[in-house]
Amino acid sequence: MKNDVIICRCQEVTEQEIIDAIRDGASTVDGVKRRTRACMGLCQGKTCERLIERIIARETGKNPAEILPNNARMPARPITVGLFRDKEGE
């Protein structure tokens, strides 16, 4: 029952899917991400990453501090495509 809990809300990934990814060989947040799409949503893992780290630690017996975090990439906040529009070309 508890495994139906949604861990990544942006991408609707459940705890069970994350456990399955770990059993499939994922041992980092990126590994879970590549198998489930967790962390790839609008918030880019800000909400779900910590929870995923904790699940990996619990399932693999690793120390949470040893688990590689999600490879965060800029921008820190979403930016709109229109920002790049050519000003003089209008």
Partner: protein, 387 residues
């Protein structure tokens, strides 16, 4: 004594495809991957499975054979790989000059029997209504498709494991055991593994891996920068590259803009099943440097709005980059090296590795298991670089 019949180095889309196919021959396969399955290029790529981006000649013929395999792939692998084989591929042109260049490339591509046509601006907009009003015309390939590269790589890996392969991650190959001109095993950061047949499927790193075996094979990284947007409602079905994509790839001498040429920057854009748009891309030689640069992002985004004005208000949520395994003649290296017995290459697919992964797995497995592939791959032999 032997740890496997075949050791495959690299757990990317090539390594996993080959491992799956070798299992069908009952071979004991060990895949050694220094990070994790799909940790290389598969996580930073588009998913074009199309004809119209392929170099006319042997590479196009190989693509035809590979794309034919996609039809039954999801069924054979037993997983959803988000393959849409009639998504279509389109390259809109801004003016008559671009249009004519595309048309001349398409004429060469058609010698392989593929359906690549030139259509008017109105026909292009009828297919993709979000295209800008002033697009002059377009190249269109109705039978080009798209796939989810991460799902496909993972599906190959799962099928390989079901077929008996062992995929060992977090194991880096650091050298080779060689006796009398033949490979006898590999050295890793976790010890030695013995076997007479080794496949180098290290993608952009394949040149470095070959060097550990004393072979000078020119596979080098060609960086591509990408951006992903927030999920939006249905926006486009085809995979779209602006005309400059094929022109930079096949007629670079026609490009006047120095900045565009140095960055190899053109627009490539597609919408994934969850609604996000992937916007790219560049073709740069920058070693293994992964940074996103303002210069490149600026060119890509300007071209994105130029062709799709409605993107203006869409948010980008992530920038990233990946490496294409580049070779000097634009063809992959497939087959055994004459200089080192038992050492096979399966790398160097540059910007077409997703589309070419099924056929690469099949042909390398046939070559290893039966001594001869069902399709002649002599032009792809790595020996063309080993004088």
């Amino acid at each position: 004594m032997q740890d496997a019949d075949v050791i495959i180095i690299g757990g990317g889309i090539m390594g996993c495809s080959i491992a799956w196919q070798l299992g069908k021959y009952g071979k004991r396969v060990l895949v050694l991957e220094r990070k994790d399955v799909a940790a290389g290029s598969a996580g930073a790529t588009d998913g074009v499975v199309g004809y119209h981006t392929k170099r006319p000649g042997p590479q196009m013929d190989l693509a035809v054979a590979s794309i034919a395999m996609f039809r039954d792939l999801a069924g054979e692998l037993g997983e959803n790989i988000e393959f849409d084989f009639t998504a279509g591929g389109m390259q809109p042109a801004e003016d008559k000059m671009q249009y004519d260049l595309l048309a001349s490339i398409a004429e060469e591509q058609r010698t392989s029997g593929v359906d690549i046509r030139m259509i008017s601006g109105d026909e292009a907009r009828a297919l993709e209504p979000n295209l800008a009003d002033d697009v002059y015309g377009a190249l269109y390939c109705p039978t080009s498709g798209k796939v989810n590269p991460l799902k496909l790589t993972n599906a190959f890996a799962h099928a390989a494991k079901r077929g008996g392969a062992v995929i060992q991650t977090e194991t880096e190959v650091t050298g080779f055991l060689i006796r009398d001109g033949a490979v006898k095993g590999v050295c890793t950061d976790r010890g030695e593994y013995y076997c007479d047949t080794v496949v180098n499927a290290c993608g952009s790193w394949a040149g470095l891996t070959a060097k550990m075996a004393g072979l000078d094979l020119p596979v080098t990284p060609r960086k591509g920068q990408l951006a992903v947007t927030e999920p939006v409602d249905f926006f486009m079905r085809a995979t779209i590259q602006c005309a400059l994509y094929n022109i930079i790839k096949f007629r670079p001498e026609a490009i006047r803009d120095k900045r565009a040429l140095k960055l190899g920057a053109s627009l490539s854009i597609e919408q994934t099943e969850n609604g996000g748009m992937i916007i790219g891309s560049t073709r740069e030689f920058a070693g293994f440097e992964k940074e996103n640069t303002f210069e490149a992002i600026d060119v890509m985004m300007k071209r994105a709005i130029r062709f799709f004005p409605a993107l203006e208000n869409v948010d980008i949520i992530r920038f990233f980059s990946g490496f294409r395994p580049y070779t000097p003649d634009g063809l992959p290296m497939l087959g055994e090296t004459a200089a080192l017995k038992g050492f096979y290459m399966a790398a160097g697919h540059e910007g077409d590795g997703i589309a070419l992964s099924p056929i690469t797995g099949k042909l390398i497995a046939e070559l290893i298991a039966e001594g001869k592939p069902s399709y002649n791959i002599d032009v792809f032999s790595p020996n063309r670089f080993l004088g």
